[in-house]
Symmetry: C2
Subunit: 192 residues, 2 copies
């Protein structure tokens, strides 16, 4: 895990289970989109957060992502596209959110604060400047959960200590892809 003296230890997780996977609200697993792994890894490297946990309990999906990571980190892709190897360096496959939390505990020596995103304001809602300030002041570690599909399922949301609201512009349209939302959120928290 990369750390610099004046920065908090922040990791992110791209969560494929348990998430809301359709417009009817059913909870389950989504498929991993390989492009999202690349895009989030590049955003994570840009903003100095690590690891990027890719969370899926599906063994076939883990195998797929494992092959992609091997190709770019050690295989032909490592020489052909070194910046991709560098971006994917800190990607860690996890079978569950708890497995990601356990790994982060081992790396940092303490249980992280967990931050999710939510469409509605609630008791655990936090704004971007407030979260950035807490991260600077708090010496502990943090895990930001990004749900795919229609967002984190209730079981995953129950593990969150804080919720960021959705990324909004001046209007009402609220349908950014997860790869764009993650880049904007990391920029709001860690951009110069």
């Amino acid at each position: 895990m990369t750390t610099t003296p004046d920065r908090p230890r922040v990791a992110i997780a791209l969560v494929h289970f348990p998430v809301i996977r359709d417009r009817f609200g059913s909870v389950g697993a989504t498929s991993v989109t390989p492009l999202n792994v690349h895009d989030l890894a590049r955003a994570a490297r840009t903003y100095g957060v690590a690891p990027l946990y890719v969370v899926t309990p599906l063994l076939s999906q883990q195998a797929l992502i494992g092959r992609i990571l091997s190709h770019y980190r050690e295989g032909y892709g490592a020489g052909a596209n070194p910046t991709r190897a560098e971006a994917l360096r800190d990607v860690v496959l996890s079978g569950s959110i708890n497995e990601a939390l356990d790994d982060l505990c081992r790396r940092t020596g303490g249980y992280p604060s967990v931050v999710g995103t939510a469409a509605r304001q609630g008791p655990k809602s936090i704004g971007f400047p407030d979260l950035a300030a807490r991260m600077r002041e708090n010496s502990g570690s943090w895990l930001l959960l990004f749900g795919t599909g229609w967002g984190l399922g209730p079981e995953a949301a129950a593990q969150c200590d804080f919720f960021l609201g959705p990324v909004r512009g001046p209007g009402e349209f609220n349908h950014l892809p997860v790869r764009s939302a993650v880049a904007v959120i990391l920029d709001r928290l860690f951009g110069k």
Copy 2:
């Protein structure tokens, strides 16, 4: 074009020609990535900028994007996925940057200021807060050019009045995908 009284008229262009299309610096056309059209359209709608010009002189590529736009704006996709129809509403296909500029002139009644991105500082460099302030103060229109591949070719860069620097985080890694960079840039200029 959507405008609100207190906001400038800002449009963006996803440029596939003339761009630097490989690591050796050759200038030409890149292929359109359909996913980028969706992602940039969603970011544009989120931040209230329009139109999104998709610039390519290649007729086969224009036909491909035209089919995708028809599917989601008028075809089966319009009913199946209305937010996608809404996002793609303001996408305009253009054969060149000049064609996009002409269209924007017709819509706004004046020639826009043109902003590109550049990796290096130069005489036309401008920071994000400075550009946001100029956009608020200037009653004219603006066109932000986003080059695909390795960035805008010299001929396109020569049309720019200003250049924004690359989106950076705290470290040296500078390889955000264009779809992430556009979302972050629009958030820095127009986010709440």
